[in-house]
């Protein structure tokens, strides 16, 4: 297992290097001073100013040299400053990442636990009432656009608050602005804010996860080694928990790893619907502003999270399946 982990870690480091290259090159052709250029050209002495600006940003140097200095700065934790508002990119990402991670982790944990449970029960009682009902809702939520589901939940949340008489669900932001509370008060406030956006993601994720778990479980229950376990006299409940589930978790682990990585960069719609200042929002703004440094930093941060999550997925997979460990 240790050798397997080391191997996977080394591969991750190589992939990380390529991620920096891709993050850099993807935006390298964008002109970070496009707006200033237009303005300055109409001014007397503007051409010189443009030259100075280019030199200060290193735009006069060849691409490979720019990549080298960007990478060098990166190693010291410096990702440059936003060309839009002059703020430090590391700080911007440092603010946005925890917000998005909170949402994505909460949504993933809940959807995986529920998804596995629903999938297993559906498979064990295939075509039973529970299976049919969960199948119906799985397809319903799977087919629902995120922005619409988010908006509906927001509306329901507000109606619920009115009926209840006090605010349970917050519909805007990741926490109350200018909140002054102790540690527990802060997290209680965050919990109130996270429920609806997380529920949005959970419902959509749950649909896929439970279907995956169901079909994996059905496959496994048909397999020869389950018949062997039955022939050994293993009680039905133990067959499901000890023999079938562990094997049937494998596809779900892969799927969850994949979607978790995507979610970190892909919650744009949910964040916009609920006015969260997370990674999705940061990406949208930096892209619209042509903010090269922020976009590069964002791409790299998302790249790193995908790599880390994949590493964790591989390790989990290796833990569950001895065949992968040796392979």
């Amino acid at each position: 297992m240790l050798g397997f982990a080391t191997r996977k870690l080394l591969i991750s480091i190589v992939v990380l290097f390529f991620a920096t290259l891709v993050a850099f090159l993807l935006v390298a052709t964008v002109d970070p001073i496009a707006e200033q250029r237009v303005f300055l050209l109409s001014q007397p002495g503007g051409a010189e100013q443009i030259d100075r600006l280019e030199a200060s940003l290193g735009l006069d140097k060849p691409l490979i040299e720019r990549y080298g200095s960007w990478l060098g700065d990166l190693l010291t934790g410096n990702m440059g400053t936003s060309t839009d508002n002059g703020r430090d990119v590391t700080t911007l990402l440092g603010e946005a990442i925890p917000v998005t991670l909170r949402l994505v982790i909460a949504a993933t944990v809940v959807s995986v636990i529920l998804g596995v449970a629903v999938g297993v029960v559906s498979a064990v009682r295939q075509y039973g009432a529970f299976d049919n009902i969960s199948t119906f809702f799985a397809f319903l939520f799977f087919a629902m656009p995120v922005f619409w589901l988010g908006a509906v939940l927001k509306d329901l949340g507000i109606r619920f608050n009115d009926w209840w008489g006090s605010r349970i669900f917050f519909t805007i932001g990741e926490q109350s602005p200018r909140l002054e509370a102790d540690f527990w008060g802060t997290w209680a406030d965050r919990a109130g804010h996270i429920m609806l956006p997380a529920l949005t993601l959970v419902l959509i994720q749950l649909a896929a996860t439970s279907r995956f778990q169901r079909s994996a479980m059905l496959d496994v229950l048909e397999s020869d080694y389950i018949r062997t376990a039955r022939a050994k006299g293993v009680p039905r409940r133990r067959i499901i928990t000890h023999h079938a589930l562990r094997n049937a978790l494998l596809p779900v682990v892969s799927y969850t790893g994949l979607t978790f990585g995507t979610l970190i960069g892909g919650t744009v719609v949910t964040e916009v619907v609920f006015n969260w200042k997370g990674m999705g929002r940061l990406f949208l703004e930096s892209l619209l502003d042509g903010d090269v440094a922020v976009t590069q930093g964002w791409l790299l941060a998302v790249g790193i999270s995908v790599i880390v999550v994949n590493l964790l997925t591989d390790l989990t997979y290796g833990f569950l399946d001895p065949r992968v460990r040796d392979g």
Binding site: Y225, K232, G233, V234, R246, N247, L320
Partner: protein, 337 residues
């Protein structure tokens, strides 16, 4: 049809009577087993032989309560006088793995890939015996040693993919005899293995049977396997018994043309030089709509109009029993050869 060895005084370990099994499909019922009876006695090796689809596996699956829920089963299966078909799930779980246990065809897919083989053996021990995990583990090592796995002390922690096909099948046999069963059922235990390994596995099975003193039902299409260890043989065709008797007798003087055909289609060392193998022409009938008379009639060199009208019942011929209208002719001809 209940006359199988009824002369014997002791009660059989397992007694199957008029077993019928059908599987409903959209095209109609597949009649996998159409009335079969057999007994297996203590310490005895019974071989059930026949080609794919003859119902040999299905009839033992029924005895283990391992058929899918959709299967329609009638007749009776009694384990030491207790009706297996009427047992509750709890009773079946208690029976399986302790009194009756089973070795399956493909040891690669029949072992759980994510559990060490020792853990799979120990699990069976702990389900049926009140022992702690350490005792169960050392029992697993002991069993692996018994079935001839080299370095059993280390192999106990191996995963199935780390073992060869032959070693996996040995581990399966170790698992099956973990609780000293009265009856061991081996369903095509050598079919998925290399020819060179097959003989070894049969020896291990025989040794395991002797060590536990259990009866053994071995299901096979390989008559070489039958010749090696079986005391008695039941030849099945299209869900019915074709012939049954002592293995030696059946080999020497088959009283059913199908048995004779099977024997003629395998190479024998004692056959005169230049003897040609005689394959049986044609294919087994569809079990969706089996022919009205003898199911073997369309392929049978002895078939007469009677054969395709009336199903022949099993009846004594010589020391055997044969379900053939022309059984005597077959039996007598075999003597002349």
């Amino acid at each position: 049809m209940t006359g199988l060895d009824s002369s014997r005084a002791e009660t059989p370990v397992l007694s199957v009577r008029d077993l019928e099994v059908a599987f409903p499909t959209p095209d109609g019922d597949v009649q996998a087993v159409r009335g079969v009876s057999w007994d297996v006695y203590e310490g005895e090796v019974l071989a059930i032989a026949g080609e794919s689809g003859s119902g040999k596996s299905v009839s033992v699956m029924a005895a283990m309560g391992l058929l899918p829920a959709t299967a329609q089963v009638s007749g009776s299966i009694a384990y030491r006088g207790r009706d297996v078909l009427a047992m509750s799930d709890k009773d079946l779980e208690r029976l399986r793995g302790s009194s009756i246990s089973m070795v399956f065809q493909d040891p690669m897919t029949s072992l759980n890939p994510v559990m060490a083989v020792g853990a799979q053996i120990a699990e069976g021990v702990r389900i049926h015996q009140r022992v702690n995990s350490r005792t169960a583990r050392s029992k697993a090592v002991e069993l692996l040693d018994l079935v001839g796995l080299p370095n059993a002390g280390q192999r106990v922690d191996s995963y199935p993919h780390e073992l060869s096909g032959g070693m996996r099948q040995r581990a399966m046999i170790a698992m099956a005899i973990a609780n000293d069963p009265d009856l061991l059922i081996a369903d095509e235990p050598t079919t998925a293995l290399d020819v060179t390994i097959q003989a070894q596995v049969i020896d291990v099975l025989e040794r395991a049977r002797e060590a536990t003193g259990s009866a053994l039902v071995i299901i096979t299409h390989d008559l070489g396997v039958v010749a090696r260890i079986a005391h008695r043989i039941l030849v099945m065709y299209a869900g019915r018994a074709a012939e049954t008797g002592m293995a030696d007798g059946v080999f020497e003087r088959p009283s059913h043309p199908y048995t004779a055909g099977l024997l003629g289609s395998i190479p024998r060392l004692d056959a005169p030089k230049g003897t040609r193998l005689m394959p049986i022409d044609g294919a087994p009938p569809s079990m969706l709509a089996p022919p009205p008379g003898c199911a073997f009639a369309p392929r049978c060199p002895r078939a007469t109009p009677l054969c395709s009208q009336e199903i022949p019942e099993l009846r004594p011929i010589g020391n055997q029993q044969s379900a053939c209208h022309h059984g005597e002719d077959q039996y007598n001809e075999a003597e002349d050869v």
